[in-house]
Symmetry: C2
Subunit: 235 residues, 2 copies
């Protein structure tokens, strides 16, 4: 039973950048320790502050990782896309998860016991390099957002965020590029450091100009070039 689902996972997993250049034998050994888990929409994979007992790879679906500040405000740290590693608190030398990972749509993840992390890294140098690059890219993204938050006004930040979402999670339709999973104005506000109201106003204005099409938990970019011009004026 378990062997079978693992076999299925390997086929899904083999071509991921994370595992690139790994020996098939090592990969197979790694998968032996893995457990596939199905997460229903709205359920959480782990919660902020909870003991970090496992690390994960998203195979299918979308997750939203957010943090709550001590005074109760939410911030969305990132969206997890298929193929992304997440919940690797151990790599940050943390005993707990810094955020909460919630499924935006029904998702499929595989998990490893966190205790395996060090051994996995030590025994799979190629994987170590790949994992490091993954974390490095996260760092890059975080710096990009910091730079945006520091220097750009709200409208540009939101435009950037929407364009990134469309790129990472866009499904092409007749009307334009539709964001693949349910997302609220509140979510976008939490990604860009602004308020629900401001995001709503911006999207309304953009919709009037024919740049996007909105809807309840829906968003379609109909004029990516136009949006890009808002994100990066005259460049």
């Amino acid at each position: 039973m378990k062997a079978q689902s693992v076999a299925i996972d390997i086929s899904l997993v083999r071509n991921l950048p994370l595992f690139r250049q790994m020996e098939p034998a090592a990969l197979t050994r790694l998968m032996t320790r893995a457990t596939p888990v199905r997460i229903l929409q709205g359920d959480t994979v782990f919660e902020q502050g909870g003991e970090a007992v496992a690390f994960y790879l998203l195979l299918h679906g979308r997750l939203k990782v957010s943090q709550v500040t001590p005074d109760g405000q939410q911030v969305m740290v990132r969206v997890v896309h298929p193929g992304d590693l997440f919940g690797f608190a151990r790599a940050l030398a943390r005993p707990d998860y810094p955020g909460t990972a919630k499924a935006a749509v029904e998702s499929l993840v595989i998990s490893w016991p966190m205790a395996d992390w060090d051994a996995v890294v030590e025994n799979n140098p190629r994987l170590a390099i790949n994992a490091m690059q993954t974390i490095g890219q996260r760092l890059d993204e975080a710096h990009t957002r910091l730079r945006e938050m520091s220097t750009q006004e709200v409208e540009r930040r939101v435009a950037h965020a929407v364009l990134r979402l469309a790129e990472k999670a866009g499904r092409i339709e007749e009307a334009g590029t539709r964001i693949d999973f349910p997302i609220t104005r509140q979510d976008i506000a939490e990604m860009t450091g602004t308020t629900l109201h401001t995001v709503s106003r911006l999207l309304s204005a953009w919709e009037a100009r024919g740049l996007v099409e909105g809807g309840r938990q829906k968003l379609t970019v109909t004029d990516a070039e136009g949006l890009a011009k808002i994100a990066d004026p005259e460049e």
Copy 2:
């Protein structure tokens, strides 16, 4: 000549967290490839956009790493403290340096050819784990700043930034905790996403309340508790 300076470096280096649990032989081998470099105040170790030819470890001094946005605004990404690894663009899968590293005071760094990075990581699993934790902590810091930028007003952000500086680079004196290296209001503004003017106003107000003592490129925290209360009210 070179052997001698390397010998000196090893003694400085042996106890760094980055090299913890590494075998002495491996560490010695690693140091063989290293080149010590002295950086004068105001000089740069590398520049944003430059080809990433080496990665570095700061032994002594302080560096400021900053980025310039396409439209010319500066953002300070971080301050490099002794013992920190920096300029590991390779780990981020980048061919160039994403920022500029400038010496705030005369500094001593050691550098390795970037081409060595992959081999170093592959052959030193313990170092790989440590390096990953280093990057992971960077990521954590970046998320902390993002959270602050998203949810806190300017005064709290600046208070946090000053407290962190005092903690990481504070020298205890009679008057209080003095920040170890020359830092301008502009620098603090670039770290917190605000303007030179606002920082100056805040510091003046704090000085009037006896929380800090300012000066040209100088800053001393005289009442850390009081500042902490601004950073995190009623907690």
